[in-house]
Amino acid sequence: MDFLLQAMFVGIIKGSIYVIIALSMVIIYKSSEVFNFAVGEFCTLGAIMFFFAARTGLPLPLVFLLFVILCGLAGMIIEKIVIQPLMGRDPLSTTLVTIGLSSFLVGLFQITIGSTPISLEIKLPVLMLEIGDLFLTSEQVWSMIFAVLAIGLLLLFYQFSRWGIIMRATAEGQVKAMVFGINTRYILTLTWAIAAIVAAMGGLVVAWSGTLTYNMGIIGLVAIPVVLVAGLDSIGGCIIGGILIGVVESLTSFYFEDATGLKGFRSVTPYLFLLIVLMIRPTGLFGQVRIERV
């Protein structure tokens, strides 16, 4: 029973990190139909930004603020330099550009932070959870808190704030938005900035509970099955899909791997899960229902 509970908890925590990263992808996909393959590198970028922000020696809340601002700026700059010149073209070309962007960023990170792993220290109170054999490290508990905060804030922003509403409107049709006086260029830049911040949150959590390495962006790959399982454009689906995949992966590592001796099988499970879901429901589990009036 302990074992199962542990597996569930670990899965949910892991899943919530996937959710954050996947959300970053979904926001961009919704607004421009671009699939951001560089999302993993955005995570690394965030962790690096935090690393540098923490170096300033400011108090923790200010460090967080600086971190968010830096990440937002980085997202904006990347959008201005890389994405905007391709505006109006086929989203596929932008998608391909993000693949290039990802390799470029990996190289850039290796130059800036080198290739030895770095440990991120965040001085937060220890919130270890230990009940019998059930055990969650302080990092895990905090990453859960971070994830809930990040997801919650994003949802609040996206659903209820004025800018969120405008972003969603722009996502539906750029021309439509433009004739109502919405500056769609600006909104797209904003979208990338927010996506960068969201991904950075994920990266921070990942780097904190492990190490910060220049190539940790590989975790972004797991966001792809999450996004596809969710159905590309559904935020709610993303949350459920991410946690589902986290739990499936965790159960695999707790039970299946031991039973079969297939060590490391857990890394395959997200994709396997994706395959099964897509066979049954090609639009993903929660693909947005197209509003069609008869």
């Binding site: 542990q6 440990s119 054999d133 055990f135 190490t211 190539n215 490391g264």
Partner: protein, 404 residues
């Protein structure tokens, strides 16, 4: 007339060039080593590996070279890819003359295996960072006569840990219970057999042998198993910094009554930076002197170059391996040259028969011999977070004697 003059000048020029070339060629032929380092690639860029070779080359040449011959390292980047390493080996052995190129150094067990046959044929001497138990065992002279390890085989390191526990740590009446956690890859499986043998020999209860993978990010299932098995001691055999870091960070608060041990790839000061306090109190085995031991002549020599060239060494052990492998090579070549037969075959014999040698002061006066094709000595160290250093808890032990 004009043509004749031009022709004369050309002729003179050619003469000068050729005679200059001739005078260079008249110098003694250099001694060359292939430094197949990991400068980029999937395990990350490790410039320390290359710096070790380069600084050793300068050190040897600053001190008169190999009996007046220049010592030259041919530094190549193998990206931690076996095919790349093999192609480097093939390319350079084909290019360089046999009476100048004698040595090859790299870091991969896989390369040793793949090139075994070829090395037997062309007698190239491998001084390697790999400490694979399956190669450097009792039969190494017969099966891999040209391979020399730059360290103590992993299996023996496990054995040292067992003995150390028995002698110093285990006070209970019951058999000590031990869990062995290893990365499920080539070098990870390598010491399993030897480890089991030593566990039996030193009367250990091996309660858990658990593989993990490079991609493992969450160690709670592994740790739960360790706790359920009620292991008193854990040996972590990981050469991946992220895996070790994550394991130590998670294990420290969870396994309160369990002592953690590591092999030589955990004996890095780097872990004080990546894992912080979680590294405190971890016991490790290391065949090398530590950077803080500034009175050690070898460390002093290395520190001189680190300072002179303003190196930012992240992983001391990799720098040291590059440095020491070159030194070993130069010593072998020097002895063969003294005997008047500078050939691969002779160098091999000289290395194997090194006896009562001080190894550039590596063991602070204690002797070195290469008869078993491995480094003969190692120490147990304990990580101390306060001073951020690995503090030796034993003297330089002669591994084979200690394990008897």
């Amino acid at each position: 007339m004009k043509n004749q003059k031009a022709f004369f000048i050309l002729f003179a020029l050619c003469f000068i060039i050729f005679s200059a070339w001739g005078s260079i060629a008249a110098e003694k032929s250099p001694v060359k080593l292939i430094g197949s380092a990991v400068l980029s690639g999937k395990v990350g860029a490790l410039p320390s590996t290359g710096w070790g070779f380069m600084d050793a080359q300068d050190y040897i040449n600053d001190n008169g070279g190999v009996n007046g011959r220049k010592f030259k390292v041919i530094l190549e980047d193998n990206q931690y890819e076996i095919p790349e390493a093999i192609s480097i080996f093939n390319r350079i052995t084909a290019r360089e003359p046999k009476d100048e190129l004698f040595f090859h150094s790299s870091w991969q067990t896989g390369v040793l295996r793949s090139l075994a046959q070829k090395v037997k044929e062309n007698h190239m001497i491998f001084i390697d960072g790999s400490m694979a138990s399956n190669i450097f065992n009792e039969d190494v002279k017969k099966n891999y006569p040209y391979y020399f390890s730059c360290g103590v085989p992993y299996g023996k390191q496990c054995g040292m840990i067992f003995k150390y526990i028995n002698e110093n740590l285990h006070k209970k009446k019951k058999k000590p219970k031990l869990a062995f956690i290893y990365i499920d890859a080539a070098a990870g499986n390598d010491p399993l057999e030897k480890m089991r043998m030593y566990a039996k020999h030193f009367n250990f209860d091996l309660v858990l042998v658990e593989p993990v993978t490079f991609t493992t990010t969450d160690f709670t299932p592994t740790l739960m198993k360790i706790r359920r098995a009620k292991a008193d001691y854990v040996i972590l055999w990981s050469w991946s910094v992220p895996v070790s870091t994550r394991f130590l960070k998670t294990a420290r608060p969870y396994l309160k009554n369990t002592k953690i041990f590591g092999l030589s790839y955990l004996a890095w000061e780097l872990f004080f930076h990546t894992t912080g306090e979680a590294f405190d109190g971890v016991y490790v085995v290391s065949p090398y002197p530590r950077p803080s031991e500034i009175n050690n002549p070898l460390v002093a020599a290395m520190n001189y170059y680190v300072k002179k060239k303003d190196r930012k060494i992240k992983v001391w052990d990799l720098y040291l391996q590059g440095f020491v492998m070159s030194l070993m090579a130069s010593e072998g070549a020097r002895r063969a040259d003294n005997a008047g037969d500078l050939s691969r075959e002779r160098i091999r014999d000289e290395l194997e028969n090194l006896k009562d040698w001080d190894a550039f002061g590596m063991y602070e006066g204690k002797t070195f011999n290469y008869a078993s094709h491995q480094f003969p000595r190692a120490r147990m160290l304990r990580a101390d977070f306060k001073t951020k250093s690995l503090i030796p808890v034993t003297d330089w032990l002669v591994v084979d004697e200690y394990l008897k």
